[in-house]
């Protein structure tokens, strides 16, 4: 039997060619036990999936606290917005989780196979890890052009994807689902970004942004038109209907505009859906012991004499090495000692320099009093609560490990060199009877540690996003108690500069997790935050350093003001009207 059955009453029906294999078994008298037959029927009945009454993916999404508003958002996108939506929740509410739920649901139901996630280059790995760990969806980060044909699920930076080399490959593909993170980068329809995303053939589309509108309504128009052309008419029609002459910021009829946006956008607000307990930031001032002081000053002097003279490009290895050294000497003498030894043996440095580095190393090894360690022990002794202690450097970690053992604290260790199982074990131990969780940055990602509410920054990371990530470990949805963030800072070190910028200028410790990115995103400097910091710190004259610090501080302040302006503009325009609950 090979000839297909041709439908007679319902012309669209396509009969599976595999039916003939089964029919041939029947024809040939091949018989199985009735148990297998029933099991087959049951299996099929169990795997029927219809409609969007509920999210089937919920039980599957492990280790992830899901909020009612996120579930409602996902359902609304699937049921009412038919899989095309701008997810514009305020920062910190988990737009990624909403997008993940929607993607998972569509995949489970067999509606989506080919998925593309477009994100800023710095977030590709993070997205991949989250999709894997939280949703069990394996993604590949695009590497070479062949990947487009090879994989069904890809994460790619917008910049890579839109480059001619890649975009020519994307043109021929129809994606079932495209997710664009940081979609405010598509606010201008004359840019390549917008045109590129517009050019992709796709069924479902999710645009994620915390700031769907920053400066004027044309941005909003562009975003909506990308998602659903015609929803707001043409730009000409939109202008006529909503813009008063000369004002591109506020529409003539807010209610009407919100009504149209309601069909394409969801914006949940923190106040409506969750409230985090307050958090308190404490700055603990450290005064170095004489040995530590001498080491810090001499290392700094050496770096100041070297760093500014190194060419930005050619000698970047050494520049990086010196930057790390400067960071480490602020963390602990152990961290500095390890790097000093490595550098003193490096061919990259001249004989004289190696001599000098070697001398500094001896100085580091001979430091006998560690003020920060003492302070930590004193601090831990004050509380019964569990405490997270973060440092960036393994030698510091191992020093603290010894110290805490010696002082009789039960603690668990966590660092990037551990395998997954050991890491799990370590978190379990902290959840259990360990009082202290001693971790390098690697302890940041993905794990829920919000059963603890106290955190110590043993050293201050120079990258403020790192600092924010640390805070985010405990001050996040699920936290029920007030959080205490204690940051050690040492007088007459670069720590003073860091606090000047982060604490004084942008109120880093008061920001909601996620906001920092939106602020720093508008600072126009090609250098990273830590490069700027290092450039300032390594200047020779005190006055010059001050001046430069003031200038950069001013820039941060402006960025913060810009962000506040965007926030209040957005608030006035959108309000609560686009939230899944609590909207009026």
């Amino acid at each position: 039997m090979t000839e297909a059955y041709a439908p007679r009453h319902v012309p669209e029906l396509r009969f599976s060619p595999e039916d003939f294999a089964i029919l041939n078994e029947v024809q040939d008298g091949i018989v199985e036990d009735s148990r297998s037959w029933l099991l087959n029927l049951d299996a099929n009945a169990l795997s029927l999936k219809s409609g969007f009454e509920e999210l089937l993916c919920l039980p599957l999404v492990r280790g992830l606290r899901k909020y009612d508003f996120q579930i409602k958002t996902a359902l609304k996108v699937l049921r009412e917005l038919r899989g095309r939506a701008i997810l514009a929740d305020e920062v910190g509410l988990g737009k990624t989780i909403e997008a993940g739920l929607i993607a998972k649901e569509l995949m489970i139901r067999g509606l989506v196979r080919k998925v593309l996630i477009l994100v800023p280059a710095s977030l590709t790995e993070q997205w991949r890890d989250e999709m894997q760990e939280k949703f069990g969806i394996p993604f590949e980060v695009t590497d070479e052009v062949e990947d487009w044909a090879r994989h069904d699920r890809l994460i790619c930076s917008l910049d890579t994807a839109k480059s001619p080399r890649h975009s020519v490959n994307i043109e021929g593909i129809t994606f079932d689902l495209v997710i664009v993170d940081e979609a405010h980068k598509l606010k201008n329809r004359l840019t390549l970004n917008w045109k590129f995303v517009n050019g992709i053939r796709k069924k479902y589309l999710l645009l994620l942004t915390a700031t769907p509108v920053q400066n004027d309504l044309e941005e909003l128009f562009n975003l909506v038109t990308l998602l659903k052309p015609g929803q707001l008419g043409t730009w000409g029609q939109f202008k006529k209907r909503f813009l008063a002459a000369g004002d591109k910021r506020m529409p003539k009829d807010v209610g009407d505009l919100r009504g149209l946006l309601f069909e394409v956008m969801i914006r949940n607000r923190r106040g409506n859906v969750l409230t985090l307990p307050p958090r308190r930031a404490h700055l603990a001032r450290i005064t170095f012991s004489p040995g530590e002081r001498r080491l810090y000053d001499e290392v700094t002097a050496y770096i100041r004499s070297r760093y500014p003279r190194l060419d930005r490009k050619e000698a970047s290895v050494n520049r990086l090495a010196l930057m790390i050294l400067q960071k480490e000497v602020g963390s602990s003498s152990f961290a500095a000692a390890a790097t000093l030894r490595r550098l003193s043996e490096s061919e990259q440095f001249t004989f004289e320099e190696r001599e000098q580095l070697s001398r500094l190393r001896d100085m580091a090894v001979s430091v006998d009093r560690h003020e920060k360690g003492g302070k930590l022990v004193e601090f831990l002794g004050k509380f019964d609560d569990k405490v997270l202690v973060f440092t960036q450097y393994l030698p510091t970690l191992s020093y603290l490990d010894g110290l805490l053992k010696q002082e009789g604290f039960s603690h668990s260790l966590f660092h990037g060199g551990m395998d997954a199982w050991t890491k799990e074990e370590s978190v379990r131990k902290f959840k259990g009877d360990a009082k202290v969780f001693l971790s390098t940055e690697a302890g940041g990602e993905g794990r829920n540690l919000q059963f603890a509410n106290k955190l110590v920054n043993y050293d201050l990371p120079w990258n403020p996003l790192r600092l924010e990530q640390r805070i985010g470990r405990i001050h996040r949805v699920g936290q029920e108690r007030e959080c205490q963030i204690v940051s050690f800072w040492t007088e007459r070190t670069i720590d003073e500069y860091i606090l000047e910028l982060l604490d004084k200028k942008i109120d880093m410790f008061e920001l909601v997790v996620g906001e920092l990115d939106l602020i720093l995103g508008s600072v126009e400097d090609r250098r990273s935050f830590e490069e700027v910091l290092m450039d300032i710190w390594s200047m020779e004259s005190e006055a010059e350093r001050r001046r430069e610090l003031e200038r950069f501080g001013g820039e941060l302040l402006d960025a913060k003001k810009r962000y506040a302006a965007v926030k209040s503009y957005q608030e006035g325009l959108l309000g609560s009207s686009l939230a899944v609950e609590g909207s009026t």
Partner: protein
């Protein structure tokens, strides 16, 4: 651990499931709590694998159904069917095992959302008739047939019949799905078309002709893409997959039933399975619908009540399957009763067909008249065709042609012998037509009309 089941996988399935022992739970909280406990829930990898494994086999099994309580054929017949115009008699019967096949189909309908269902069809492989799906057909413990199912029959027609039946059942669901998606598509397409039409208009107004032309071309290319996207998203993808088949041998009684009617008799084959004791209702010879009440026409056709026609005059029964000239196919234009050819009277004035009761053969001219073409004579009070009753005088032709007769005329004598009023009249007139003899008696101040029929009986006077 409560709520967690340890499940040892039979060796032959280990490869498919990629494990030898599984610890499974249906509770997401437990799956999260314990390492290595697999969650079984729609969409979970393990369940997907189990489903895949389970549906890679179990495609076909067989069973035999045991007969229930004994019942006589007559009782079963009476319980299932009733008869019009005929008396049934079971003339012979035999028991047999008849193969039935149970087909389960999985139907998947995808637009921008998904609808899935299972549909089960049971067919009698001999008659290809659909059989009610009974719970017992799904019982695991049904006995196996003693001897292997030999006698290869071609199952293709059975499969085709099952597919057709399944199609009929899901037609409405598919249409629903298609239409609701089409509604959303139309809306979306309209929005896209309006948008690009708007862009084109704006380009024409605001740009130089050359630029406008280029812009409009670009817009229409983009419009095509957006429309394609929309069609892709909302178009219906409807798939059917056969999940499995069960061949069920059902003990069946096949019997010949002789129906005796008014004229021709008829023998029909009926069968029922001994489990349900239900006789699949036979189909009407004329229209093909199934019927529980069977009629027999004079030609021996088996017909339903809808198709049966009975003459109101002579009780003759015909049906749509009878030869045309044998059909009871006319209706009286006045009373609406059905009439056979013999009893359908076509009037002579072209009004239509009438039953004998509503037809008058004019006593005067002999034409057949009906309805408004019948008139009553004002003098003799008999019914004539309206042509024979002169409008002015309101009297029929016979009455107008009355001629004098002597008092000892035979008809006058008949009148006198039957009417008490006849004695006082001295002058007499008479005339006759095809049915009556009209006699009129006159005196000084009185006149009376008497009507005699052909036998000389007085039928009316006045």
């Amino acid at each position: 651990m409560p709520g967690v089941v340890r499940y040892e996988i039979p060796p032959e399935r280990r490869a498919a499931l990629n494990a030898a022992v599984l610890r499974v739970t249906f509770d997401p909280a437990l799956a999260e709590k314990y390492d290595g406990v697999e969650l079984l829930t729609p969409g979970s990898l393990l369940l997907d694998r189990i489903i895949e494994d389970a549906s890679s086999r179990g495609h076909h099994c067989v069973a035999i159904v045991q007969a229930g309580d004994e019942s006589s054929e007559r009782e079963v017949l009476a319980a299932n069917l009733s008869f019009r115009n005929a008396t049934p008699e079971v003339s012979s019967s035999k028991r047999d095992l008849v193969p039935y096949m149970l087909f389960t189909f999985r139907i998947t309908l995808i637009t921008d959302e998904k609808t899935e269902l299972l549909e089960t069809v049971v067919l009698n492989c001999d008659s290809l008739r659909e059989h009610q799906v009974r719970d017992m057909f799904f019982e695991e413990a049904l006995a196996l047939p003693e001897e292997p199912l030999t006698g290869k029959r071609d199952i293709r027609p059975v499969y085709v019949a099952a597919c057709e039946e399944m199609e009929k059942r899901i037609g409405a669901v598919v249409a629903d799905c298609r239409e609701s998606a089409r509604g959303r598509l139309t809306e979306e397409e309209q929005r896209i078309k309006d948008y690009f039409a708007g862009l084109a208009r704006e380009a024409q107004v605001s740009k130089y002709p050359e630029q406008a032309k280029a812009a409009i071309e670009a817009y229409s290319a983009e419009e095509r893409k957006r429309l394609e996207e929309a069609q892709l998203k909302y178009s219906l993808d409807a798939r059917v997959r056969l999940v499995g088949v069960r061949t069920i041998m059902v003990p069946t009684v096949k019997m010949a039933v002789l129906l005796t009617g008014r004229k021709k008799g008829r023998e029909i084959e009926l069968q029922y399975d001994e489990v349900s004791l239900e006789i699949p209702p036979p189909r009407c010879d004329a229209c093909g619908t199934e019927m529980k009440e069977l009629g027999l026409c004079d030609e021996g056709h088996l017909v339903c009540g809808e198709c049966e026609r009975k003459c109101a005059v002579c009780d003759r029964v015909s049906c749509q399957a009878c030869a045309e000239n044998l059909r009871v196919s006319d209706k009286c234009a006045q009373c609406g009763r059905l009439l056979c050819e013999l009893h359908a009277v076509r009037d002579d004035f072209g009004l239509g067909v009438y039953c004998p009761d509503h037809t008058t053969e004019c006593p005067s001219c002999g034409k057949k008249a009906s309805g408004s073409f019948v008139a009553r004579c004002g003098r003799c009070n008999q019914r004539y065709c309206f042509l024979c009753v002169a409008a002015k005088e309101k009297s029929c032709g016979t009455c107008r042609s009355l001629t004098g007769v002597s008092a000892d005329n035979a008809d006058v004598a008949r009148v006198k012998s039957q009417s008490a009023f006849a004695g006082k009249f001295g002058k007499w007139k008479a005339a006759r037509n095809r049915k009556f003899t009209i006699v009129e008696g006159r005196a000084m101040l009185a006149k009376r009309t008497f009507v005699l029929d052909m036998e000389g009986q007085l039928v009316w006077e006045g």
